[in-house]
Symmetry: C2
Subunit: 401 residues, 2 copies
């Protein structure tokens, strides 16, 4: 287990972020959703405290808590006043190491997970982006964490307990702390809480090709939703920030190309964006636009045109605006202990070390339109995958394989 | 125009929030959506800058910008590095006082507003909460700001210009600034930018009763959505924090009553909440739960039971947990210049003065279970309005008039 910290004595708060190898890529066959149910059940009592007491004691410390299950990892995080950090970590050591996973609460936990799964059916934009990732990556790397209904219904409490034992442990686990804390005292405290945590015997999932699927999802509505993905380099790649800046020119801020061409000039969409989605070994640019059925083809055509046009390079003025926005957001991130805890945890996962904001700032300063254009020349957007959801399929534009 | 500031020299950022009387309550008959289109058009060039230049210059200052149109007010806000605050305010003075409202961009702006309106049709939870507010308040106070399709299509550029002239001006306008800035220099700068802004001649909207509407909205889905509203006291009322704490016991945190009874014990929903929605003259508790069609009746019954049970009072331990969470969130709010700028602007609108976080903290300290229970005894939840969206209507539970 890795402990990484970034003290900022000017803050009154402290935040922590646990990244653990409990993502849905570890769901066994016919058990899609097991990682999600396990996370749900871990919150229902741990160590000397039952479900109600654990939550009450955490809230009495003023902790704002959040957890999520991704493909590779589960994330448990919290933020509170600096003086309450040690006591909050005691509660999370119980949660992670000694959860009760109570049999009598399994049905309620399962039901909450089924409700989440079914809620997505009513949210077409979310549903489409799930289907985009499912098609873009080989299994298990494009799975949605909320699983499948039949599999969720089949899960037993023994499945949950086995998942916890197999996947939760110090190997691959990162605890990041940011805000106002003393590093030496934190180290001693974490050593006491986690030093004797026995290593788990986790096996890495096998990557398998996806079955082929239809790229249009029929949906009875006057709205149509368009999603596009293409491969790019992951965060750990030395050229990552070149790719990231190119996506910024495409989609960051109101002067970005997608916002200007799709929304401002043509009023095709209320929402349009491209974002960089990175796992440790693979990454994509994911793009979304929601519009009316009658303007869906135009929206798709304009969006694809803007993506492919990146290959011609970006302008210096576009980069200047992007740099100004990033500089400002880096400073504001420094004022948020939660944002910093999340960032340095992810850094360690991807890079094996944490970047300070000064270091990120230097990387951004070093970006030039020449460096980005050299990257785009060698790695232009290609192999575009288009997935649509709406009343009718669309024509795939020229230039999309 | 009022300028209100809260300097926090330990931050590197500065944030501002303009509240202006440009909300959709001022939409004329047959022009529902005019406030929203006006806001959209104001972003398309102002003062010496055309649309692209205004946005580019703002982004070169690293400003993170956001705007929204509510019932009573329009809100334009931004956050940036402390040194860029004066230049950002120059751009916003142009935006607010000298927007071009260009005729040739009206169709694109209208189309973006129509897209937003239609997107809501695909989002059942959002649609339901709009319908709840529409039924809960007399017109115009429950209107959605995005207007109606026929009205949006009829709007001309003269309508937009007239709306701007009539409603945007110094009367009723509040500019709040938080973060790292010098108060005296800010005052001089704002005086220079806004001191000669002529007062607008705005007329207050008339309040009229709502036409009666069906309280079930048919929606073809396996999901059902339940919304409940009841009246409470607005922010400016001296007992506001008593009501607010009672809603906190109901819905703030994982130990709250709704979370415990609806989600944790029964697994009925993935999302359930109650929140306090306050205007200057009227306020409501608004409650939402989304579930499967087959569990919708049970969800409604349990939720209503929890709302009505508030009349029996709260426990000291519930209040203790709530206070701990609030204390922590107040400290974290102090570390966000954006959050503080928004808060002090709203304070001034509701109260005619800004509360410091120390003052809020004292109010929270003074809350007791006795004070809250006395309030709940005198003002129990009553006149519950239930609106549902899903495949079938539900039975209105006992205790709901």
């Amino acid at each position: 287990m890795v402990l990484v910290g970034e003290p900022t004595p000017s803050l009154e708060s402290a935040a922590f972020s646990f990244l653990l190898p409990g993502g849905c890529c570890y769901d066994p066959p016919q058990r899609a959703g097991l990682a999600a149910i396990t996370c749900e059940m871990m919150l229902r009592g741990a160590g000397p405290r039952d479900s109600r007491t654990w939550i009450a004691d955490l809230e009495n410390l003023g902790v704002e808590r959040g957890e999520s299950v991704g493909v590779s990892q589960a994330n448990f995080g919290g933020a509170t006043l600096k003086d309450n950090l040690p006591a909050a970590l005691v509660l999370f050591a119980d949660l992670l190491r000694r959860p009760h996973l109570p049999c009598e609460q399994l049905e309620a936990g399962r039901s909450a997970c089924l409700q989440e799964l079914q809620a997505v059916e009513d949210e077409p934009s979310q549903k489409l982006m799930i289907e985009l990732r499912r098609r873009r990556y080989p299994d298990p790397w494009g799975r949605p964490s909320h699983g499948e209904a039949d599999a969720l219904r089949a899960i037993t409490i023994d499945d949950v307990r086995a998942f916890h034992t197999r996947n939760y442990g110090p190997r691959g686990t990162i605890l990041a702390v940011a805000g106002n804390f003393d590093w030496r005292r934190l180290c001693a405290h974490v050593e006491q809480l986690f030093g004797d945590w026995p290593a788990q015997k986790q096996s890495e999932p096998a990557t398998t090709p996806n079955p082929s699927r239809e790229n249009h999802i029929p949906f009875d509505s006057n709205q149509a939703h368009v999603a596009i993905a293409y491969p790019t380099i992951p965060y750990k790649h030395p050229d990552y920030y070149q790719s990231w800046a190119a996506v910024g020119v495409l989609s960051s801020g109101s002067s970005s190309r997608l916002f200007t061409e799709v929304r401002e000039k043509r009023g095709l969409c209320y929402t349009v964006y491209a974002s960089l989605h990175t796992q440790r070994e693979r990454a994509s640019v994911l793009c979304y636009a929601g519009t009316t059925a009658e303007r869906a083809q135009e929206t798709l055509d304009v969006t694809v045109h803007e993506l492919l046009r990146l290959a011609d390079g970006i302008e210096q003025s576009e980069l200047d605006r992007l740099k100004a926005r990033i500089k400002s957001s880096l400073i504001m991130q420094q004022e948020s202990s939660s944002a910093r805890a999340g960032s340095i945890a992810r850094d360690w996962y991807h890079l094996g070390r944490a970047r300070t904001l000064d270091e990120v700032s230097e990387i951004v300063d070093a970006l030039t339109s020449e460096s980005i254009n050299a990257f785009l020349h060698d790695s232009p957007p290609r192999d575009l995958l288009v997935v649509t959801l709406g009343p009718e399929p669309l024509e795939v534009p020229v230039g999309v394989s």
